[in-house]
């Protein structure tokens, strides 16, 4: 299955190169005749030249990433089964530990709170927050990891959790293989969105996790942050050759930033510590914020550097 998905993707990426005028895929670089003149002309100067990236160059990184995603999903299936068993027998402390393990695995996909919508509505059902729903946590549309988190830590109900875990397992199973393919897009615009994750996974951590907006009782945001660091490491690893060929300093300095962040997570108790960030001493929280902030500042140019050029546009 794993290699089949990768091969399929590779083939589709190759095919995509010759089909750049796909209707659903407007080029990022619009032609000068169509574009209005209201912008500031001549912004790019030769000193800032960046070698263009074409879709085919992302085929190998995407293939590696597909394998990574596939491995994590396999792992996640087993972890959800374990979680379900713990909830069924009413062992809440085991279920809480199993929930954290499974959630961190999910987060390592780079899909924290399904913020970037790569898995679409399904991603929202798996890890969405309740805030935007008409009756928030009471809404039947509130499903997935965070609902189970509320079952366990908020309502102390193994029975409710077991039913919601079973539902989550069904949702996660629907992700493969069709949704995985959707997640790893084949169009130039889609590839650009994928490359954005280099900094957006941690942007999301900064916005939702360091504010603890995504917490439904587990106080597991240190672990969330650590999983987001891992997901970012993976993105950097698969894209490193392309980035280094253009801006050699980014990968080493981002790697340093991520190490600093990991050190600060450890200093705050480590990924397994259930800490309420709202109650954390300011100095400690500031250290996490600044380390995360520094990493995203370093990573922000990646999506620009690797912006895909569509041939002929």
């Amino acid at each position: 299955m794993k290699s089949a998905v990768a091969a399929l993707l590779m083939a589709a990426v190759l095919a995509g190169c010759g089909n750049s005028s796909h209707a659903a895929d407007p080029p990022r670089t619009t032609t000068t005749t169509a574009l209005g003149t209201g912008g500031t002309a001549g912004r790019r100067v030769s000193a800032n030249y960046v070698a263009p990236v074409v879709t085919i160059q992302l085929a190998q990184p995407l293939a590696h990433y597909t394998v990574y995603v596939d491995d994590l999903l396999t792992l996640l299936h087993g972890q959800l089964a374990t979680l379900h068993a713990a909830a069924l027998r009413g062992d809440l402390s085991a279920a809480e530990a199993d929930w954290s393990t499974a959630h961190f695995t999910w987060l390592e996909l780079g899909q924290d709170d399904s913020a970037y919508g790569a898995f679409g509505e399904l991603g929202q059902q798996i890890d969405g927050m309740a805030a935007g729903l008409p009756h928030t946590v009471h809404s039947p549309a509130f499903t997935g990891f965070h609902r189970i988190e509320l079952d366990l830590w908020g309502h102390h109900s193994g029975t409710a959790a077991a039913a919601d875990i079973a539902h989550l397992a069904v949702l996660v199973r629907r992700l493969r293989p069709a949704e995985v393919q959707r997640d790893l897009p084949l169009t130039a615009l889609g590839v650009d969105a994928w490359v954005l994750r280099c900094h957006e996974i941690l942007e999301d951590a900064l916005r939702d996790s360091l504010s603890q907006n995504d917490d439904y009782g587990s106080n597991s945001d240190l672990g969330t942050l650590a999983a987001d660091v891992n997901a970012t490491h993976e993105m950097l690893a698969v894209l490193a050759p392309l980035i280094e060929a253009r801006r050699p300093k980014i990968v080493p300095s981002a790697t340093t930033d991520l190490r600093v962040l990991t050190r600060e997570i450890e200093a705050a108790g480590g990924p397994a510590a259930h800490r309420n960030l709202r109650a954390m001493p300011l100095r400690q929280r500031q250290a996490l914020e600044e380390a995360t902030g520094a990493a995203v500042e370093t990573l922000a140019p990646v999506s620009e550097i690797l912006q895909v050029t569509v041939p002929g546009s």
């Binding site: 209707a23 912008g39 805030a131 957006e200 929280r285």
Partner: protein, 437 residues
């Protein structure tokens, strides 16, 4: 961190004073930037102090170059409330209250008091002189005479006012209801809703704050604050419509409500709209506190920012145009090659015959209020709009915007739906008097 000009100046003055070089040099250096009126006072104070004791650091009154502190009064009485179509001055303040008045009669008294207070504040004038038997009637923060400073006081009712407490259930404006979250919202109950909303706009923030204090004082016992927020409008940078905190010009595409026919079609509740008779002349008022993640935004490329908005950042022109007032030609770009189909301006106002009736009249303010829990700067937009029909206009607009690419960079966290009541007609009238007739 570099030292700003003011500190630099203070250091240098301190040094000069200690060295005994005296006031003349420093005073002359300072005079160039002192505004008219403050020069004499400041210089006089300095001379006196300098002569009296050279060992003491001299006072250097703070110097603030700014615009006119006393804009002309905006008429309070009229068919419609001021603060909607009247020019939008730079300072805006919003406060939501719950009514704690215990009866219908008390509510009526409260609204009469509110009307009298607003009438005085918006007109300006000299408050009664302080007497020995009570604290002063005016808080004094605008000086002994209260300038009008273009203050407007715009009052709106939330749907909760029309519950059983005051016998108003059968008079609720037809479309008024609590604000339910849209899918990308993160509404904080402590900053959402309320029985009564007051919007204060004026030339300066001290004017709105003065008014807020006078109003809350006058209505003490009857109105309890829920949440409040102060906003500002930037000056043109460098020209045209002011920019929001994302640096984009915001409010370019407002309908022309100066045209009475347009206003009667889009802005005011009129006799033909099926609303209760008392509501004619009012308008649905939507306030949304929208946090803007400016740190995140600043890490996004200009090209992507412009694709999300659909305009050039620098000029404000739509991506197919050259000036901020240009009307985007979506018909020429049906696939969104120039202005993406998901661009904010395109979703919000598709400029079709079918969507013309859903246009809203925006009157937003930027806000800036400290630090978020995650160390980010807490800034954003007090999204503020008026319309004839809540469902047909704001809700339809916002529904089109669900899931737009910009949602990652913003978070609506509060606000509410209100009904801005009809205008206070004359010196005997009071807010929403016809509601109780």
């Amino acid at each position: 961190m570099s030292t700003d000009g003011q500190n630099d100046k203070l250091d240098r003055r301190g040094f000069l004073a200690r060295a005994g070089l005296g006031a003349v040099t420093a005073g002359a250096a300072g005079a160039g930037i002192l505004g008219p009126g403050s020069t004499a006072d400041a210089a006089g104070g300095q001379r006196t102090t300098g002569t009296a004791d050279d060992a003491l650091l001299r006072d250097a009154p703070i110097v603030i170059p700014r615009g006119d502190p006393t804009l002309a009064a905006v008429p309070f009485h009229g068919e419609h409330q001021a603060g909607i179509t009247t020019p939008k001055p730079p300072a805006g303040a919003f406060a939501s209250f719950d009514v704690t008045a215990q009866s219908r009669a008390e509510l009526i008294e409260l609204l009469k008091t509110l009307s009298q207070t607003a009438r005085f504040l918006t007109g300006g004038g000299t408050p009664p002189a302080p007497t020995v038997d009570a604290p002063p009637a005016d808080n004094g923060t605008l000086g002994p005479t209260v300038p009008a400073d273009a203050l407007t006081v715009t009052v709106g009712f939330g749907s909760t006012l029309f519950d059983q407490r005051f016998g108003l259930a059968d008079r609720r404006p037809l479309r008024l209801k609590p604000m339910l979250p849209f899918p990308n919202d993160n509404l904080d109950p402590a900053q959402t809703g309320g029985d009564l909303l007051i919007q204060l706009c004026a030339g300066n923030p001290d004017t709105t704050l003065h008014a807020m204090r006078q109003i809350t004082r006058a209505t003490r016992g009857g109105l309890a604050l829920n949440w409040r927020l102060e906003g500002f409008t930037s000056p043109p940078r460098p020209s045209g419509v002011p920019r929001n905190t994302f640096a984009f010009k915001d409010g370019i595409a407002n309908p022309d409500v100066g045209d009475e026919a347009v206003a009667n079609r889009l802005l005011w509740v009129t006799d033909g709209t099926g609303e209760p008779a008392w509501a004619t002349g009012g308008s649905y008022h939507v306030v949304r506190i929208i946090k803007q993640f400016v740190e995140f935004w600043d890490r996004v490329s200009l090209a992507e920012q412009q694709q999300m908005i659909g305009r050039f950042r620098d000029s404000g022109a739509p991506l197919d145009g050259s000036a901020e007032g240009d009307i985007p030609n979506y018909k020429a770009d049906p696939l969104g090659y120039v202005i993406p189909l998901t661009a904010h301006i395109r979703l919000s106002n598709p400029r079709t015959q079918a969507t013309e009736d859903s246009r809203i009249f925006r009157r937003g303010y930027n806000y800036d209020r400290g630090v978020d829990l995650n160390g980010n700067i807490d800034v954003g937009l007090v999204f503020n709009c008026f319309q004839q029909d809540l469902e047909r206009q704001f809700i339809a607009n916002q529904t089109r915007l669900i899931g737009e690419p910009m949602v990652d960079y913003i978070s609506p966290i509060g606000g509410g739906y209100f009904f801005a009541v009809p205008g206070v007609r004359d010196a005997q009238d009071w807010y929403a008097s016809r509601l109780f007739a």
